[in-house]
């Protein structure tokens, strides 16, 4: 271990710009951080890894000052009373102000003097400059829109632009890529590399091994609030070893289990058509959708009955169907899970029980919320090995990755014929992701048609039978069969060049 020696190095050029030592933090009875260490050098890109609930976000919030620490110390440039302006954070849950303009969202947080003028020209200039770094087109188009009108990935850009424009020397990015496509991630990484050369350090939290290796030099791994790996060079350690350190099965990095063919009796044929495209999917297949949101969202909204003027026509077993409401779609056997848990999935004030059985209630036209539902919900939790204190607890008492599994658990009982997934692994750790892939394959094996949009090409490649690619304008630009699937072909077809 070279770590202790480095700490001694003290004040020379290689000194740590950020150093968090033995951080302890509890929320009530939950001991979240139990002596976490994090040390970042100037100009370094540092990966902070760990399973869901390991304490990464908590550590970041402590460093940024939005949580108080119970014990330990934080120093920046060797000083214990850190200048808050030295740090900029991209929060995992996106700290955006939906009614305020994009420009203000980027510029306002840097202003600390309450009664100063918020110079509009300066605001727009600075915001445009920052946003143009990550996305020219967005900067031209949206500066004076309220953030509420942006898509999730556009919001993520705004959040990143805010961090970039802060002038901070350390960027703490908590899963900034969770909502980005492959090429968008690439663009971000280009910027971060450039900043690194200018001496700006980045702490990156991500659950995607590929991109971590592509960007970061060093990693720290948290497990149950402790740093089990402290400043290990990524070149010195295998994925398996990292995953093991995170406390998850090392098999998680290997490809998903082979798929089984669905029973012949359950076969079903779905045809999706829009002007110029016709896609036929059968039971047992996982159809991937790749590309920027504009294209896939049309298919998804039509399939789940969310939008009335449907862009796509659906034929199921030769019969044209048209869902005028999500309820109709659900009763026809369409299941839906979105990665946008907070907005489109979780019922935050209702216990886990209700969250799980909500779909079955609609699908079965249930009238009674019977006690049998509790059994079913518990079974669902057990089947997916979801760790929750009880089905009567609120969803906010489990980690985000676990919440995502709750959404999938919804569809165990109604057993949909078509399962529509919208980035279902967003923000989920490697182990959990792996479980979700297995669930997707299991669903297909059970005779389900799976339609799955993901911006993470690697998972599409690993799990899908076929992928429809959409270009940036939202037009379907090609269908890739399993043997043609690789990142290059996907990037080409989606116009999101690598």
């Amino acid at each position: 271990m070279s770590a202790p020696r480095e700490t001694q190095a003290g004040t020379n050029a290689t000194a740590f710009v950020l150093e968090a030592k033995q951080i302890e933090k509890s929320f009530g009875a939950t001991h979240v951080l139990r002596g976490a260490n994090l040390r970042i050098r100037r100009g370094e890109i540092h990966a902070l890894l760990g399973g869901n609930g390991a304490g990464k976000s908590t550590l970041i919030r402590i460093i940024s000052g939005s949580h108080r620490l119970d014990a330990g110390s934080i120093s920046i440039d060797g000083r214990l009373d850190p200048n808050p302006n030295a740090i900029a954070v991209v929060f995992q849950e996106l700290a955006l102000l939906p009614h305020l303009s994009v420009a203000e969202n980027i510029y306002l947080p840097h202003r600390k003097c309450a009664f100063a003028r918020l110079g509009e020209a300066a605001c727009y200039a600075e915001a445009r400059a920052a946003l143009a770094l990550v996305d020219e087109e967005l900067a031209e188009r949206t500066l004076d829109w309220p953030v509420a009108q942006l898509d999730l990935h556009e919001r993520q850009f705004v959040e990143i632009a805010r961090a970039l424009s802060s002038g901070a020397r350390v960027l703490l990015l908590d899963e900034p890529t969770a909502n980005l496509t492959f090429s968008e991630t690439e663009r971000l990484f280009g910027i971060l590399r450039r900043l690194a050369q200018q001496g700006i350090s980045t702490l990156l939290v991500s659950h995607r091994m590929g991109e971590i290796r592509a960007l970061a030099d060093v990693c720290t791994v948290l497990r149950d609030g402790r740093s089990v790996l402290d400043r290990v060079a990524l070149s010195d350690i295998s994925d398996e070893a990292i995953v093991e350190a995170m406390g998850q099965k090392s098999s998680a990095v290997s490809p998903p289990a082979p798929r089984g063919a669905p029973a012949a009796s359950a076969r079903m044929q779905i045809v999706l058509r829009s002007p110029g495209v016709s896609l036929s999917v059968a039971s047992g297949e996982v159809l991937g959708l790749a590309g920027a949101p504009a294209g896939p969202s049309g298919v998804i909204e039509t399939l789940i009955g969310a939008s009335r003027p449907a862009a796509w026509q659906i034929t199921i077993d030769g019969i044209d169907v048209r869902f005028s409401s999500p309820a109709e779609a659900i009763r026809a056997g369409v299941g839906y899970v979105s990665g946008d848990r907070a907005e489109k999935g979780i019922l935050a004030t209702l216990p886990i029980l209700d969250n799980i059985v909500a779909a079955a209630r609609v699908a079965d036209r249930r009238i009674l919320a019977s006690s049998r539902e509790a059994t079913a919900a518990q079974t669902a939790l057990d089947t997916l090995s979801i760790k929750a204190s009880s089905i009567d607890a609120l969803p906010q008492t489990v980690s985000g990755g676990t919440q995502q599994k709750l959404l999938l658990a919804r569809w165990l009982a109604p057993a949909p014929k078509i399962l529509v997934l919208e980035e279902p692994t967003r923000g989920v750790d490697i182990g959990t992701k792996r479980e979700i892939y297995a669930m997707i394959r299991d669903a297909a094996a059970a005779g389900c048609v799976v339609v799955w949009w993901s911006t993470e090409f690697t998972e599409l490649i690993a799990v899908c039978d076929r992928v429809v690619a959409f270009d940036l304008s939202g037009q379907a630009s090609g269908v890739l069969d399993r043997d043609e699937l690789d990142e290059v072909s996907l990037s080409r077809a989606t116009g999101m060049a690598a």
Partner: protein, 332 residues
């Protein structure tokens, strides 16, 4: 070896806490209010020996009944993250319509049906404007409140009407089940039924789901518009029924009868643990909130506190109640 503390803290998966524990957890706030009410009653009895007499408890029940019914309706709306400001004037208007019907010598069950139509109509207008047109509940019900209050003067030209029907009192004071006065029966039935609907029927869960996250609810196939429409109608009908019960008791309809009730009903829900952002609370809580308000009123009168001080006392008691509730929540 490092022992994972957290895993040890976790309850065994696959087990559910016992029913009693679960109920205690679900009804934490309600139990706290119930206890607060008991403490209040006992406290008052130090000043006034009469407070815990049977007769006085009956008075409290009679005085609370209409407010309880209204609060239940308002609670439904609040649970969906809406608000109903129109219930007070629906109460008044219902009374005036009933008064006119009685003047026309209609038999009382017919009068009741017609009068319930007032609440139905106001609720349907509220529900329609909120769901179909998409206006904000506060604005919609503020408008129907103003119009309803105005119409309850217009339709009788401001005159109050004494109800002469000798049998109408049975609605409130009769005993459909011997030994239990009707108003108690109605309140109990309404609370139990509503609590069961909210806990045990899917549609009840939908009410909370909508209040919790209405976009997610829609995507889950929940008929958001239908349920939302329904809760406004229910709220209107509850206000009308409350008015009839009150009318049956006091046999006098007046245009201002419901003026103070709206804030009281909302306060009852909030005291009972409902959040105005929706998704939480219970029918039992709303009922207890209404009882608490009535008990404070009763206590102030029994102790003989100058009525000028009543608002201060009421405010202070509610403040203490919510502070205690807050403190216990933070601690747990």
């Amino acid at each position: 070896m490092v022992i994972d503390q957290r895993a040890a803290d976790r309850p065994q998966p696959g087990k559910r806490a016992s029913l009693v524990v679960r109920l205690t957890r679900i009804y934490r706030t309600e139990i706290a209010i119930a206890m607060a009410i008991v403490v209040l009653l006992v406290g008052i009895s130090f000043w006034s020996p009469y407070v815990l007499t049977w007769g006085n408890l009956a008075n409290i029940a009679q005085a609370a009944a209409p407010l309880i019914l209204m609060s239940l309706g308002v609670f439904l709306v609040i649970a969906t993250s809406g608000i109903d400001l129109s219930v007070g004037s629906t109460f008044s208007l219902t009374g005036m319509v009933a008064g006119l019907c009685f003047s026309a010598a209609l038999p009382w069950p017919v009068v009741c049906l017609i009068s319930l139509g007032v609440g139905l109509a106001v609720g349907a207008i509220n529900g329609g404007l909120v769901t179909v047109v998409g206006l904000a509940p506060f604005v919609v019900t503020l408008i129907t409140y103003a119009i309803g209050a105005s119409l309850s003067f217009v339709i009788t030209d401001g005159h109050s009407i004494a109800i002469a029907d000798p049998n109408f009192w049975t609605l409130n004071g009769g005993e459909m089940i011997p030994g239990i006065t009707n108003f108690v029966l109605f309140c109990a039935l309404a609370v139990i039924a509503l609590e069961c609907v909210l806990r045990k029927l899917v549609v009840g869960r939908w009410v909370f789901a909508i209040g919790s996250n209405d976009k997610a609810a829609r995507l889950l196939g929940i008929p958001v518009h239908g349920v939302r429409f329904g809760v406004y109608v229910a709220s209107g009908v509850a206000a009308s029924f409350a008015s009839l019960l009150s009318l049956s008791y006091i046999s006098n309809s007046e245009s201002t009868a419901g003026a103070n009730l709206m804030l009281q009903a909302i306060a009852a829900c909030v005291i009972g643990g409902a959040s105005l952002f929706g998704g939480t609370g219970s029918a039992i809580g709303a009922m207890l909130g209404a009882i608490m308000i009535t008990v404070i009123q009763n206590g102030v009168n029994l102790i003989g506190i100058n009525s000028f001080w009543q608002g201060t006392v009421t405010g202070a008691v509610i403040l203490v109640a919510v502070l205690i509730d807050r403190a216990t929540k933070v601690r747990s």
